[in-house]
């Protein structure tokens, strides 16, 4: 068991490293650098940045060095636990990201929970009643979430929220709480803002989860141990829930790994439309402004979250599924 976790951990670290490189490259891909976009921004506001100024800026920001140099520089910073300075925000990256990261996680987890609450029963139902009208209906409902372009849905809900319920527009906090210290009231305020994003993001993932659950369960339902259970005289409901469902849950659990990042990634667009103070909009702005340390760090963090997610779910899988446990150890 430990050996297994150890091995996976090593792999994870490798992956993270690879991501850090990739992240850095991605950000360098677009033409120009932060200074270019800074000048452009100034120009479109009518003020002018001369070539000399631009040159100075580049030197001050250490831009213009070859990519690998900049990368190593960044790595050195990270090694010191300092993710660098955000050029646009003129603040340490860690401060800029700050609680946005946790809010991202909160939103994503909320969405994930919703996904499961929907997907599990639906999946079980449509497996047990394969090809029944209910099966189709359930799957249909599941797919709607997948099919609706979530940025549009987000906007419509935002507007209806205002027209019908006079809800506060967007964000995760009412103005008075937006940078208040954490308190019961603030948490409550957060909860009040959660539903819309959670629903929009949750729906998207549901269909996929339903599929997985249904498929797994269909497999299990055909196993003899189900017959055994029946032949004991167990009531059908118990037969299903105690045995096949329990077993089908194992591979299902292993989907957390990529569902979470899937949601986080999806949350970028939705966050933008709903104006959520998550890393999503920050990332977009950073990428556009080519604020490389900020963008790089965010991509890296999201990547790390994914890797950890995968790691956790694998370990979880090993932990809840004795078979694997035995093979692995």
């Amino acid at each position: 068991m430990l050996a297994y976790i150890g091995r996976r951990a090593v792999l994870a670290i490798f992956t993270v490293w690879a991501i850090s490189v990739l992240a850095f490259v991605i950000i360098q891909l677009p033409p120009g650098d932060y200074v270019t976009s800074y000048i452009a921004q100034m120009a479109s506001m009518g003020s002018v940045v001369t070539d000399e100024e631009a040159q100075n800026l580049r030197i001050q920001y250490g831009l213009g060095q070859p990519i690998y140099v900049q990368y190593l520089k960044w790595m050195r910073l990270i090694a010191q636990g300092n993710f660098g300075m955000s050029m646009e925000w003129r603040r340490p990256v860690t401060e800029v990201i700050g609680e946005r990261l946790w809010l991202t996680v909160v939103v994503s987890v909320a969405a994930l929970t919703l996904t499961w609450v929907l997907a599990l029963p639906i999946g079980i139902y449509s497996a047990v009643r394969q090809y029944s009208a209910g099966d189709y209906l359930a799957t249909f409902v599941g797919f709607i979430g997948l099919a609706v372009p979530n940025f549009l849905l987000a906007l419509v809900l935002l507007y209806l929220g205002f027209v019908l319920f006079n809800a506060h527009i967007g964000g995760l906090f009412s103005p008075e709480f937006s940078d208040a210290p954490w308190s019961g009231a603030r948490v409550w305020d957060l909860l009040k803002h959660l539903p819309i994003p959670a629903v929009i993001l949750g729906l998207a993932g549901t269909a996929q989860q339903i599929r997985i659950m249904r498929a797994n369960l269909l497999d299990e339902l055909r196993k003899p141990y189900v017959v055994t259970a029946r032949s004991k005289g167990l009531p059908e409901s118990r037969v299903i829930t105690k045995y096949p469902v329990r077993v089908a849950l194992n591979p299902f659990a292993s989907t957390i790994g990529y569902t979470l990042p899937y949601i986080v990634s999806g949350s970028i667009i939705v966050s933008l439309v709903l104006g959520l103070p998550t890393v999503g909009p920050l990332l977009l702005k950073a990428l556009i402004a080519q604020d490389m340390f900020l963008a790089g760090t965010i991509v890296l963090l999201l990547g790390v979250m994914t890797v950890i997610g995968t790691l956790v779910s694998d370990i979880l899988l090993v932990w809840i599924d004795p078979r694997i446990r035995l093979e692995e150890t």
Binding site: K223, P224, Y225, T228, Y243, D321, L326
Partner: protein, 348 residues
């Protein structure tokens, strides 16, 4: 039409049948056609005896067994026939008879019978235990389901039961997972679970097929021994005539969802009447030998169930095929001797 079945082996003729199946038909509607897995099976089973049900795979043995327990998988269902089962009386004296075929497949009554009065053990001892629950857990569950006992007591019973079926150091085993046990142990555990509620009827569906020779013997031994101790009846489903010869008092030979010949074990083995039975036996070198070699299959293959031949289902493969008769009319089970019946036109 096929009502009159000869009462079987003398040993039990005095008492009433524990289970009497009449003209049972279980069909599976498939897109490709209707599969008549069981097509008019009839037989009787008396307390304390062992009925061996033999036939090539796909002849409907297992479906019959599952039909009795009413756990036939969808879309299969019993379309006709009776399954009269005599429930043990509250105090000694014969209890009332229920027609299992009439019960709701998941109703409370059938469930109170399943596992408690009719228990099932079958082929894959590996996959017939849940991979994620301990063996003990699953046996305890069975016990507590039918007996008013608490966890601790049930656990004690379980351990006891495991010991009875010859599982060494059951205290540890009880908490192990199925595949931590060897094939033999698993089957023993299976039996333990089946017998944990002293059923009056044990249906053993190919109980030893998956096991190696020596383990087979042990398991069979165990079953016989337990039968003597508890006096339950056993419906032993197998394609292994050797096993039948060893265990059974009566034998029913099935072909394409029908019983083609039925009678006391000696009669079947010494004077087989039905060409199919004869073919089966012919494929074993020395009768009553302890050899465990498999049946060498009879010429031709079992016709696909979608299209059972007209007339006698066996006629396409039959050595004594009588054109005009066998392929026209359907033979029925008729007595051909003491408690010995066969369904073939040769015997009119």
């Amino acid at each position: 039409m096929m009502g009159d079945v000869v009462p079987s082996s003398s040993a039990s003729s005095s008492r009433e049948a524990l289970l009497s199946v009449r003209n049972l038909k279980t069909y599976f509607p498939q897109d490709e056609g209707l599969v008549k897995a069981v097509d008019g099976v009839s037989f009787d089973l008396y307390p304390g005896v062992t009925l061996g049900v033999v036939g090539e795979s796909g002849c409907g043995k297992s479906v019959t067994a599952r039909s009795i327990l009413r756990i036939v998988d969808r879309p299969g269902r019993i379309v006709e026939g009776e399954i009269q089962f005599r429930r043990p009386g509250t105090n000694g004296g014969g209890g009332q008879v229920v027609d299992l075929a009439k019960l709701a497949p998941n109703g409370p009554e059938i469930r109170s019978i399943r596992g408690a009065e009719i228990a099932l053990i079958f082929q894959e001892p590996m996959s017939s235990f849940s991979p994620v629950h301990s063996v003990g857990n699953q046996i305890i569950e069975a016990i507590r389901l039918h007996q008013p006992v608490g966890r601790r007591e049930a656990r004690a019973k379980t351990i006891e039961m495991l010991r009875r079926v010859g599982v060494s150091s059951p205290e540890q085993r009880v908490d192990q997972l199925a595949y931590q046990l060897s094939g033999g142990l698993r089957q023993r555990a299976m039996i333990a679970m089946a017998l944990s509620c002293q059923p009056t009827l044990l249906i053993a569906d190919e109980p030893t097929t998956a096991l190696d020779v020596t383990t087979q013997t042990q398991i069979l031994e165990l079953m016989r021994q337990l039968q003597q101790e508890d006096g339950m009846a056993i419906m032993l489903i197998t394609h292994d005539l050797g096993v039948v010869a060893e265990m059974a008092t009566d034998v029913a030979v099935m072909y394409l969802g029908r019983v083609v010949e039925q009678g006391p074990v000696d009669a079947i083995f010494h004077a087989p009447r039905h060409p199919y039975t004869q073919a089966l036996l012919r494929s074993i070198p020395r009768i009553r030998s302890r050899s465990r070699e498999r049946l060498t299959p009879i010429a031709g293959s079992v016709p696909h169930p979608y299209d059972r031949p007209t007339g006698c289902p066996f006629h396409p493969r039959c050595t004594d095929f009588m054109a005009g008769t066998c392929d026209r009319q359907e033979p029925t089970l008729r007595p051909v001797g003491d408690q010995h019946a066969v369904s073939c036109f040769l015997y009119r």
